[in-house]
């Protein structure tokens, strides 16, 4: 695949950047700088935070028009609430993308996969471009595909933990088995971890805390952009000699090629 054709397709959009940015932990006045430095084309905003009465307090005010807004359903405790939030966001002019976030565990913020599958089914039928945030579970990811998800967004580690790709083995399986794009959401704290996700073949990564808590969030956003690009190119370049099955000789099966004595 040539570099020029390497675009990410989600719904009707074709994206050049494979870095999505979250806004929930960042001061609004830093948003324009972070968005520019990250080169992102997709930004998440929690509807619960979208302050339509006060532009200065509304993160949406700080996001350039050409960026795709992906409202999330933060605060939803079940599928019905998530669907309601998605509809309110669309009615408020946030477009038809939605990141489903159904949390029934406030201590670790684990996504509720069961309710998320239900919400995805409801919203996909209503024409939303649905990107569900999930625990990396193959069975659930398959159900989400069947339910009409435009992508799946498994976590790399608990939200805000900055622990990297702790769920690496499960993410690898999702990439192998799931046809819709796989976007790692939550857990990525450092650019090197974003690069690793991309090297593994993830289609994109979403970063929030890693940028927001950096000493210089704008510079960190730029670092993530480079890491995602480098990781993607490494993936496209193909695996090196360190691949799992690579070997200089065949000590175990070489005899098959020998002439029988």
């Amino acid at each position: 695949m040539g570099k020029r054709e390497d675009k990410l397709k989600i719904g009707s959009k074709t994206l050049s950047s494979r870095l999505f940015v979250g806004t929930g932990k960042l001061a609004n006045n830093l948003l324009p700088g972070v968005i520019t430095a990250s080169g992102t084309e997709v930004v998440t905003v929690a509807l619960r935070r979208a302050d339509f009465h006060s532009p200065q307090e509304n993160p949406l005010t700080f996001i350039p028009e050409e960026i795709t807004i992906m409202p999330n359903t933060s605060g939803a405790r079940n599928a019905v609430e998530a669907a309601r939030i998605a509809r309110l966001a669309r009615a408020a002019g946030c477009g038809d993308w939605v990141k489903i976030e159904v949390i029934t565990d406030q201590k670790y913020l684990f996504p509720d996969n069961e309710e998320t599958v239900k919400a995805t089914g409801i919203l996909a039928k209503e024409g939303f471009v649905v990107l569900p945030y999930i625990m990396p579970d193959l069975v659930v990811a398959r159900r989400l595909e069947d339910a009409g998800a435009a992508a799946v967004m498994p976590l790399g580690a608990p939200i805000g933990s900055n622990r990297g790709l702790r769920s690496r083995e499960f993410l690898r399986i999702l990439v192998e088995e799931i046809k819709v794009p796989v976007i790692v959401d939550a857990g990525i704290g450092k650019p090197s971890e974003a690069a690793e996700a991309m090297e593994m073949g993830m289609d994109a990564v979403l970063v929030n805390t890693g940028v927001a808590v950096a000493g210089d969030p704008v510079m960190m956003a730029g670092a993530f952009a480079k890491a995602v690009k480098a990781g993607r190119e490494a993936f496209l370049a193909g695996p090196g000699v360190a691949g799992r099955y690579a070997s200089a000789s065949s000590p175990l099966t070489g005899f098959l090629h020998e002439v029988k004595k």
Binding site: L47, R48, D51, S54, E57, Q106, K107, A212
Partner: protein
Amino acid sequence: MSFLAEMELYEKIDFSFFWRKTGVEDVRAVLDRESLKPLDFLTLLSPAATDCLEETARVARELTLCNFGKIIMLYTPLYLSNHCVNHCRYCSFSAAHRLVRKRLTVEEIKKEAEFIAGQGFQDLLVLTGESRSVTPVSYLEEALGILKEYFPALGLEIYSLSTEEYRRLVNAGADYLTVYQEVYNRETYNYLHPQGPKKDYLFRLTTPERAGAAGMRNLSIGALLGLEDWRREIFFTGLHAAYLQRKFSDIEVGVSVPRVRPNLGGFIPPVEVTDNDLVQSILALRLFLPRVGISVSTRETPWLRDHLIKLGVTRISAASVTSVGGHALPAEDEEGQFVPADGRTVEEIKEMITTCGYQPVFKDWHRLW
């Protein structure tokens, strides 16, 4: 099992002995731990831990940034009524005090709501004293019905109700409940609440559980600091919050750390709680409960509040008035519930938060129905 059973278990601890044998090295060991058990929390509340405040603050700051980001939520209180049948010794609204009693009318509530919403607030905490005759549940339902037209999030800090009554208020528009135990120590509680329905310790203690069962989205609890040994009171506050987090995993739990302020009746708090003590309390709570919101009201001075937002606090009140109404309808001759220590305007608070590199957030919930 209610929280009482768990409390009884921990009340058996010999706190003085535990803290006497706790050294700085024990505190440092706790700081290295991934997740804290109740006795680790108790270690962070020890006198020895006061020597490790800076190290603890670094961990607390990191946890707060990772879990909440550079965000400070803002709210303001609206007192609907100061009618009260309780005799809490530390409160200006006590039935024992002579003060002008007032309850806002529908028109007054609208005026106050318009004014407060005009300041930019979208999260309103609605308060009353305890009077089932003057401010019955039906009055609160009516008030919520008016206020929800102005605010996407409404909290209640009112007298303790039954689950069914809370359900009515949730249906009327209440999103969260703030209820302070005031004092976890049972003897002190009994002394400080000589008369009135609030004297029932167990009914008070189980209030958040009833509100949780009724569908409130957020529960905030706290002890009024200065009434008892603050180390123990914060310990039980933390345990209570952890209990609620376990029992209602889908509810956001918050804690407050209010200190007694000057009030009508001249009640002198029996225990001194210094700024140092308050900081130690906030840090210990943050490490024990990394995902729990921590509120600080205008009971604290501007100087202290400005510093606290970097240490674990996630929610502060602003432009607070503690008398009935008083936002749009100035009530200079009325006594408030307590005398606020931070009289800055909303704009001044916003500027302070922004200068610290944080985002002031007025809206953190969007009512769904």
